[in-house]
């Protein structure tokens, strides 16, 4: 593999930077491109789910399957846009929007009780067929906290609901792109 930035022209870098709303600096974009090429082992122009799962640190993450659905098959420009929510320059709204998209697995702009329960199950490792008592427990926990916040089991949450709930919580989602 040769020097990666020689395959990425200055025009490309600027185009990607534009696409992600300047969430990353030009050096960071070059670094991300090196990383993209490193993960895209068969040089298909996108990183497949298999290639993502070959990173053990990613594969052991409880939300890996949900994130894979969002990131599988993206080209480099879209890959950077996906990661832009994690830039220190991203706004709180962008971060909340990212979290909303993780919950909203069918992409219809609404998060249901089932979506929230599914994420909770992913994080805690409880599944329908096992640990029946714990599944019932999380169901109850979720119903209770929703109730306390003024929602019901049948509420369909939209982005503005998420903004209201998570708005002033000091959300911290940031990764640092290593620049040589």
């Amino acid at each position: 593999m040769g020097n990666a930035s020689s395959m990425l022209t200055q025009y490309d870098i600027e185009e990607v930077q534009q696409h992600c709303n300047h969430a990353f600096s030009q050096q960071e974009i070059v670094s991300l491109y090196e990383r993209f090429c490193q993960l895209d082992r068969n040089n298909g122009g996108f990183i497949s789910a298999e290639e993502f799962l070959s990173v053990p640190e990613f594969a052991v993450n409880p939300l890996s399957q949900r994130l894979l659905r969002m990131v599988d098959g993206l080209n480099f420009k879209e890959f950077v846009a996906f990661l832009s929510a994690f830039s220190p320059h991203a706004t709180l709204h962008q971060k909340i929007e990212f979290i909303f998209k993780v919950y909203d697995s069918d992409g219809n702009g609404k998060v249901t009780f089932t979506d929230m329960l599914d994420v909770l199950r992913d994080l805690t490792g409880t599944f329908i067929s096992e640990k029946q008592r714990e599944v019932g427990l999380y169901f109850q926990v979720l119903t209770d906290v929703l109730d306390e916040a003024g929602y019901t089991k049948d509420s369909l949450m939209i982005l503005s609901d998420f903004v209201k709930i998570l708005g002033n919580s000091g959300l911290k989602i940031e990764v640092e792109v290593p620049v040589d």
Binding site: E57, P62, P178
Partner: protein, 343 residues
């Protein structure tokens, strides 16, 4: 130190009963101890887990171990470029043919004495009577050749296809080498037994084991497999550090075949490396095989200036065991349930 009980030895699961990986992984931002009762925003806030996942996408300590770092190009100006061209001509048309000739003559001499001798005799020199094995960090198959200068070793290695495999089954077998196959399910037990038999046999060559199980790029060490450390004998650590001044000796098996790698080495100026033979170690009382393996890995890494990562080298070939994800999930579940009691 937690040792999680028995091994899972199916071919799809990896045996990761090593030191607790969570001690090494970044978990600074995960689940801060909460105050007060559980609210909706606490349940919806998945940012710590997301940050870890994105962090892994952007950079991770495992992939770093197998990255070949390109050297800075130095032949870019008008004075250095012709010098480099001269160097290329010299290396490819003088050094390389010379080396090939020496190699060919060496092979002719070797084979003309090996084939008759091998079929007549079967014994080896009784060099070692002590029960000891040698362990070293692994960068390329030529590690074996470099260490052969000390004494004839019986090495344990992956069975390869092609001309290397032929070499393995004929010549290397005669010095007592042992094969393993990563992809075979019951392989681990078979190999453990072979190792034990070899060590106990008195007229066998000393055993050389590369506990990492795979080639690493000589800047990091991955976790040592405990097989070599539970044979009940003294372990002599050997540290190998290559100097990349002329060529990078890391065999990136995902990027090039061994033949290409060998050609690359033979057309370079020289392979430069430092080898340290370190003080023999034995199992301390109350120490488990895994702790012993980690202690020896620490000794080797410090001597050769390598950084340690908590990953199993076999993750190059298969997925991590669900055990790790389950541990994370369990700690999250516990923190949620704990907060339920606070009213």
């Amino acid at each position: 130190m937690r040792s999680p009980g028995q091994l899972k030895s199916s071919s799809s699961e990896l045996d990761l009963d090593g030191p607790n990986i969570e001690d090494y992984l970044p978990s600074g931002s995960s689940i801060q101890e909460p105050l007060g009762k559980l609210r909706l925003r606490d349940l919806l806030d998945i940012s710590p887990t997301l940050t870890e996942a994105a962090g892994a996408i952007v950079d991770d300590s495992f992939t770093r171990c197998f990255k070949s770092n390109q050297p800075e190009p130095w032949n870019w100006n008008i004075y250095l470029f012709p010098l480099w061209c001269f160097g290329v001509v010299f290396r490819y048309f003088i050094l390389f043919p010379l080396r090939v000739i020496v190699l060919t003559i060496g092979w002719i001499i070797f084979l003309s004495s090996f084939i008759p001798v091998h079929s007549l005799l079967k014994g080896h020199d009784k060099l070692r009577k002590k029960l000891e094995v040698f362990v070293a960090n692994h960068t390329s198959m030529i590690d074996f050749i470099i260490l052969e200068q000390m004494t004839a070793f019986a090495v344990i290695m992956q069975k390869h296809p092609g001309w290397v495999g032929l070499l393995q089954s004929t010549i290397l077998e005669s010095v007592g080498c042992i094969w393993f196959n990563r992809s075979e399910a019951k392989d681990r037990e078979i190999v453990a037994r072979k190792l034990r038999d070899h060590v106990q046999g008195t007229d066998n060559n000393p055993l050389l084991i590369f506990p990492e199980g795979t080639c690493v790029n000589n800047h990091y060490t991955v976790m040592f497999k405990k097989g070599a450390f539970e044979l009940g004998c003294t372990v002599c650590p050997v540290a190998i550090k290559y100097n990349k001044i002329f060529v990078d000796a890391f065999w990136n098996s995902r990027k090039q075949s061994f033949t290409m790698h060998l050609l690359q080495l033979m057309t370079s100026w020289a392979v430069v490396c430092d080898v340290w033979y370190l003080e023999p170690q034995t199992l301390r009382p109350g120490e488990t095989a895994i702790e012993f393996a980690e202690r020896v890995r620490d000794i080797i890494s410090v001597r050769a200036g390598l950084k340690k990562v908590p990953w199993d080298g076999y993750l190059k070939y298969s997925r991590p065991s669900p055990k790790h994800r389950e541990r994370k999930q369990q700690s999250f579940a516990e923190s949620v349930l704990r907060r339920l009691d606070e009213k």
